[in-house]
């Protein structure tokens, strides 16, 4: 088949093959399971790297088409559903991010117990969904992969989680499913207005080109899709699954979920909600902008008083992911580029955070910062990693957080409307609050005296933990030090979207 | 103007239907209930005869009175210890039943009486359908032929036989 000549399809095939391989592993020994999982993750990483190379080559060769590596296979002809693949710069970096996190996640769950084989099986199914989502440009396929990514979550948290895991798993799944219910309505609505001549299509590019969704319908479909993805992007007030879900999830799942799955929300928001319904986006953007503005400050304030490490991080994610959606709603290339950078940055550093928290928790068996202290003494490697993650989170130049936040702030402030600019200034306040809660944790957890004498005997990170965290730290530093490499990949991808928005605004102005 | 015999006959049948129906559902002995049902069915058969549907009346007696009631009696004897009465009904259950039934009857009666004009029409004359005709219709495939339902019922009965055997079989 022709589609197998497209490298993109292998992002779905490789995880599936890994699952197949895992299925043949023996239930007893963990060695084979690890080998297969590492092999799968490494191949994905290599593929992602190759994809970046291909992308740069295509762009370098003057290929300015919106999506590259496009190919499609008809899946269900009566409804014109296709397995349509294609990537632009944003998808490429998101795939790269996912590959990194899957790689780090495999090592972070090296000693997974019980049922390691089943764990990795679901884990790779989750990654299948994530990769599938980023490579598709067909609404139906996207939605399908989105669901594929959601469902394993329930089992991963429910079986391998900790604490109040049944409640959390249920809550997370139900709220995200609620979001996808909105989303499905939105997608169906879009489908039935996808073309003026009745040749309905699910292909995003075609829908955008047709630009046939009536304005009155856009006003309904835009909120539906935006909220649908916004739930996953932890937009206030739909964020409450995030603290509980992350707190209960096992390490690698937290990593993948906060690192990648939440990014599906932001990605979907601009790729579907804004791109396809620019008119409504212009009209209704301010409502969601206010909500996301609240998310940013609200999440940061909430994080200040939490005592559970994972809760702190989850609320911090609310704040940071709020920033993603906030920037996306600013409708200019700079801010949107910032949003993608923030996705990358937040994905990596939250994954790093969760990995470290998992490793600390695995040693101390508590996540309450009041019961810990002076860990820097005992486990210097993890301590330094945590400080680095913290500094990345509060925006130290040279690490990824700074680049992303600054691009967002500068981009947002470039908006000509005074309301947007005032909101931007309000959002910038979060950088101080972020500093407060990050430093509070670092001071309490790592510095100071050892609170619990038993902790003195704990060991520092093992080699696979070092590998897992080092991968992420290096990635964070690379983005922080050489941002222009990523900016160049990303920013052109927003030209069609911003163009659509401007056309819509222009048309509305004319009418 | 009907013949007086017919009218008397009607009243006897109607009275029997009403009385035995009521008794069927009110008696506390289940076997008596079955017996009253049998009388009700006989009265119904009589009604069919009076309406000139002799064949139907015969089927009613044969199948219903002869078959079904016997089945009932058998199963009652199988499941019931002799001399055991049903417990008296709790009053709210009874009244609820009565109210619902009466309400149903009242609504239907209301409907019937509101079309009193229509319902007041007399019985037209009719030649009693001959057995030959019935047989022809039942086995014909023409317009108004009933072969297909007939065969469907045959299959149903077969299924019923098999089902009955399977269900009732002692495992």
């Amino acid at each position: 088949m022709e589609i197998f000549n497209n490298i993109l399809i292998y992002f779905v095939i490789v995880p599936l093959l890994t699952i197949l391989g895992l299925a043949f592993c023996s239930n007893r020994g963990i060695g084979a399971v690890r080998a297969v999982a590492v092999a799968g993750a490494t191949v994905l990483m290599a593929l992602a790297g190759y994809l970046v190379y291909l992308f740069l080559q295509a762009r370098g060769a003057g290929d300015t088409s919106e999506m590259i590596l496009c190919s499609e296979v008809t899946w269900y002809a009566p409804l014109n559903i296709k397995l349509a693949l294609g990537v632009d710069g944003v998808s490429v970096v998101m795939i790269l991010l996912s590959a990194f996190i899957v790689f780090a996640g495999v090592f972070a769950s090296w000693k997974m117990d019980p049922l390691p084989k089943q764990f990795f099986l679901w884990f790779f199914l989750l990654s299948t969904g994530v990769f599938g989502f980023f490579i598709s440009i067909d609404l139906f396929t996207m939605f399908m992969f989105y669901e594929v990514a959601l469902i394993p979550m329930y089992l991963l948290i429910g079986v391998w989680g900790s604490g109040n895991k049944n409640y959390s798993a249920m809550k997370l799944t139900l709220m995200l499913m609620g979001g996808s219910a909105f989303l499905m309505l939105g997608i169906i609505g879009i489908y039935f207005h996808s073309s003026a001549d009745g040749q309905w299509t699910m292909n995003i590019l075609e829908i955008a080109k047709n630009d046939a969704i009536p304005h009155s319908w856009q006003m309904w479909l835009f909120p539906l899709t935006f909220i649908g993805f916004g739930v996953l992007g932890a937009m206030f007030p739909f964020h409450t699954w995030s603290p509980d879900g992350h707190a209960s999830a096992p390490t690698a799942v937290s990593m993948l979920h906060a690192g990648v799955l939440m990014k599906l929300g932001g990605y979907g928001c601009f790729r579907i909600a804004i791109y396809l319904m620019p008119f409504a986006a212009n009209e209704l953007g301010w409502i969601f902008l206010t909500l996301t503005g609240i998310s940013i400050v609200y999440g940061a304030f909430s994080a200040c008083v939490q005592t559970d490490l994972k809760y702190i991080n989850a609320y911090s994610s609310v704040s940071h992911c709020g920033m993603v959606l906030f920037a996306v709603l600013m409708f200019n290339t700079t801010a949107m580029t910032g949003a993608v950078l923030q996705m990358l940055s937040h994905g990596l550093m939250t994954a790093l955070f969760f990995a470290l928290i998992g490793m600390i928790y695995g040693r101390t068996h508590t996540r309450d910062i009041r019961d810990m202290g002076g860990l820097m003494h005992i486990m210097p490697y993890l301590g330094v990693g945590y400080v680095l993650a913290g500094l990345a989170s509060l925006g130290l130049p040279g690490l990824s957080g700074f680049v992303a936040e600054m691009t967002i702030f500068v981009g947002s402030y470039m908006h000509t409307d005074i309301f947007h600019r005032v909101l931007t200034i309000a959002a910038t306040c979060s950088i101080v609050i972020t500093a407060v809660y990050i430093l509070r944790v670092v001071a309490k957890l790592l510095f100071g005296d050892v609170q619990n004498e038993h902790h003195r005997e704990l060991t520092d990170a093992s080699w696979e933990e070092r590998l897992s965290t080092a991968t992420l730290i290096i990635a964070v530093a690379i983005i922080g030090c050489f941002p222009n490499f990523f900016v160049n990949i990303i920013s052109d991808s927003f030209l069609p979207i911003v163009g659509a928005l401007e056309n819509a605004a222009h048309a509305a102005g004319v009418m | 103007m009907e013949s007086l015999g017919n009218i008397i006959m009607y009243f006897v049948i109607a009275l029997a239907i009403i009385v035995f129906s009521v008794l069927t559902v009110t008696t506390r002995k289940i076997l008596r209930s079955a017996t009253y049902l049998l009388f009700t069915l006989f009265a119904t058969a009589a009604l069919y005869f009076q309406l000139d549907y002799a064949f139907l009346g015969a089927v009613q007696i044969a199948v219903y009175a002869g078959g079904i009631v016997v089945l009932f009696v058998f199963s009652i004897l199988l499941t019931q210890k002799p001399g055991e009465d049903a417990a008296p009904l709790s009053s709210h259950r009874k009244w609820l039943g009565i109210i619902t039934a009466v309400a149903g009857v009242a609504v239907c009666g209301c409907a019937v009486f509101s079309y009193a004009q229509f319902c007041g029409q007399l019985m037209p004359d009719m030649a009693a359908p001959s057995i030959e005709n019935i047989g022809k219709f039942l086995l014909s495939t023409d317009k108004l032929g009933y072969l297909l339902p007939f065969e469907a019922v045959s299959v149903l009965l077969l299924a019923c036989i098999i089902g009955g055997v399977v269900i009732a079989r002692r495992r």
Binding site: - | A14, V25, Y53, L56, V59, I68, L71, V112, L157, I167
Partner: protein, 103 residues
């Protein structure tokens, strides 16, 4: 005095009401089946009566009743088989006590 359509409908109506009452109030499953038979029977009467009064030359109502009787017989036989089977397992035919599969 004439035998009008109405006069045939009234006994059938009352019979149906009795069936409803019985169906709703009895606890014995066989008694419930008996009530069911009453209701079926009253419907049969209606078919026949309407056929006789409105379409005297045709036989649809009669045939319908004929089939109804056949189906009723089949249904009763099957139901009774089930009841007996249930009785064998649960040692009871009280409909309120056969609730092992509830929830």
């Amino acid at each position: 005095m004439n035998l009008t359509l109405l006069m045939y409908l009234i006994p059938s109506l009352i019979m149906f009401g009795c069936g409803v009452y019985g169906f709703l109030t009895r606890k014995n499953m066989i008694a419930i089946m008996i009530s069911l038979e009453l209701m079926l029977n009253s419907i049969d009467i209606n078919f026949v009566v309407f056929n006789r009064y409105l379409f005297p030359g045709q036989m649809e109502g009669m045939f319908f009743t004929l089939f109804a009787i056949a189906i009723a017989a089949a249904e009763t036989a099957l139901a009774l088989a089930i009841i007996i089977n249930v009785f064998r397992i649960a040692k009871d035919v009280d409909i309120n006590k056969i609730n092992k599969l509830k929830f």
